[in-house]
């Protein structure tokens, strides 16, 4: 399949990219790894007049620690997320989740900035990023601003990203050192995309009381969301099987969940509960009691 014709221009700096976006009058799209955009171009579901290649911009690379956050350059590939020692050490759930995105070849090209800005509801990264309190650094002609990821996704493939701006980095909150975390996914058997993906990050006081709870869910709804109702039911409590069941029963509360040919709404809500329950059991109940 061959895309429709377009102009191609390479941006050497972020300012360059923004200027090119402004000049295009909304006709241009940014190209990083291309693993969301090029399939759309080939199916001719999008036909931008110009592609602005940002993949060679050095300032969009790199992973560094800033206080209690890890700042990950927008061009960081899923493979780099998976293999970064800094990520492995501070937030292993992000490294582990990156490994179930697509396949080896896809992970070599797909980028964290592209993944979130594309806002595919069945992608794996959004739920994990929500559970890690992700913030996006976004740059436009007016300068840089920080956007919370919670609220960034407006609909399938639609975000709050202003038209002539780009995501320069994504920062993730480093969970408390004793926190436990997991990303559990039920993959669509053909596409590998998440039918449901649940990321749970939970920290406890020395006496076992839950003092930090984040649950991010993708795949089931139009947008990835934080399951606040589950988090609220966990906070201040001691982990038990009953608590987990009660909390997980609310996993679909914040989700805008519908059905499709593969899975009905009822089934998706069911999966949502079951995977939330399993994720919480896995990290909160010692082996043998689960």
């Amino acid at each position: 399949m061959i895309p429709t014709t377009f102009d191609y221009v390479r941006a050497d700096t972020v300012e360059d990219a923004i200027r090119l976006l402004q000049q295009s009058n909304g006709e241009a799209k940014l190209l990083a790894g291309g693993h969301s955009l090029i399939p759309l171009l080939k199916f001719r579901l999008t036909a931008p007049g110009t592609l602005i290649d940002i993949s060679k911009i050095g300032e969009l690379q790199g992973i560094r620690r800033e206080g209690n956050r890890l700042v990950v350059g927008a061009l960081t590939t899923h493979h780099q997320l998976h293999t970064s020692p800094l990520i492995r050490e501070t937030m292993p759930v992000l490294a582990d989740a990156a490994r179930v995105i697509g396949d080896l070849q896809v992970r070599h090209r797909g980028t964290v900035g592209g993944n979130l800005a594309h806002a595919d509801p069945a992608a794996d990264l959004p739920g994990v990023a929500l559970a890690l309190d992700a913030m996006l650094e976004v740059q436009s002609e007016d300068g840089k601003e920080l956007l919370e990821l919670d609220g960034f996704f407006l609909g399938p493939l639609v975000t709050a990203l202003p038209e002539t701006s780009l995501v320069t980095s994504v920062s993730f909150l480093i969970p408390p050192s004793d926190a436990k975390s997991v990303y559990l996914k039920y993959a669509h058997p053909a596409s590998g995309y998440a039918v449901v993906g649940v990321c749970a990050v939970v920290g406890t006081d020395p006496d076992g009381t839950i003092n930090h709870a984040r649950v991010g869910i993708n795949g089931v709804g139009d947008v990835a969301y934080r399951a606040i109702s589950v988090e609220e039911r966990l906070l201040g409590q001691r982990p038990s099987r009953e608590l987990i069941q009660q909390a997980a029963a609310h996993a679909a509360d914040e989700g805008d969940i519908g059905g499709d040919l593969f899975a009905s709404e009822e089934y998706r809500r069911h999966l949502c509960r079951v995977y939330t329950e399993r994720a919480l059991e896995q990290i909160l109940l010692p082996e043998g009691t689960a």
Binding site: M1, I2, P3, T4, T5, F6, D7, Y8, L31, G34, H35, I38, P39, L41, K42, G49, L51, D53, S55, H79, G102, D103, L104, Q105, V106, H108, R109, G192
Partner: protein, 175 residues
């Protein structure tokens, strides 16, 4: 509109320069412009991996990359792996362990597995199977492919041990 772009890239250690349309996919550039038809087009939708090549040493699906994106990159295709006299260990492995039947997926599978072996020279069977997720073989049921990759890993370890490292990764001329 859509001016052609000049790209310069190294393919199987030979530098190539060409004018390409921005919309030209890397796989079409390799097959049609350079006549390197060892890289196959299967699904053309980033699923099957028959078009896998190495871009700067990493396995990539060349149907999901534009030729202009490869400007300045070093590409290795299956033609760059070895020849009949000097098979690459992965090719030797496929030969010894009957890793193919119809052979359509084989070039892409071998390139993906070379990428795996560069990063994990001694993979477990589970790691091989996981890395095979990005390729589809409709003949073998994968068992013989897994055997071939493990055989290749063992052969490469032997070559490494004997100090004959230059033979580990023979690169052809991209005929």
């Amino acid at each position: 509109m859509n001016k052609s772009c000049k790209v310069t890239l190294t393919v199987n250690e030979v530098e190539r320069t060409a004018e390409v349309e921005p919309r030209m996919l890397l796989v079409h550039f390799l097959r049609e412009t350079l006549n390197l038809t060892g890289t196959h087009i299967g699904c053309d939708t980033s699923q099957c991996g028959a078009c896998t090549v190495l871009v700067n040493g990493e396995a990539v699906k060349s149907c999901t990359m534009l030729a202009v994106q490869a400007d300045g990159a070093s590409i290795t295709t299956v033609e760059g792996l070895g020849d009949v006299e000097h098979l690459h260990p992965i090719q030797q492995g496929f030969w010894e362990k009957h890793g193919l039947q119809c052979g359509f997926c084989t070039p892409g599978v071998m390139m993906a597995m070379v990428s795996l072996l560069q990063e994990h020279p001694a993979p477990t069977e589970e790691e091989v199977r996981e890395a095979l997720e990005g390729v589809i073989c409709r003949c073998t049921g994968y068992q013989f492919i897994v055997d071939a990759v493990l055989h290749a890993a063992a052969e490469m370890a032997k070559l490494q041990e004997s100090g004959n490292v230059s033979d580990t990764m023979p690169v052809g001329e991209g005929r």
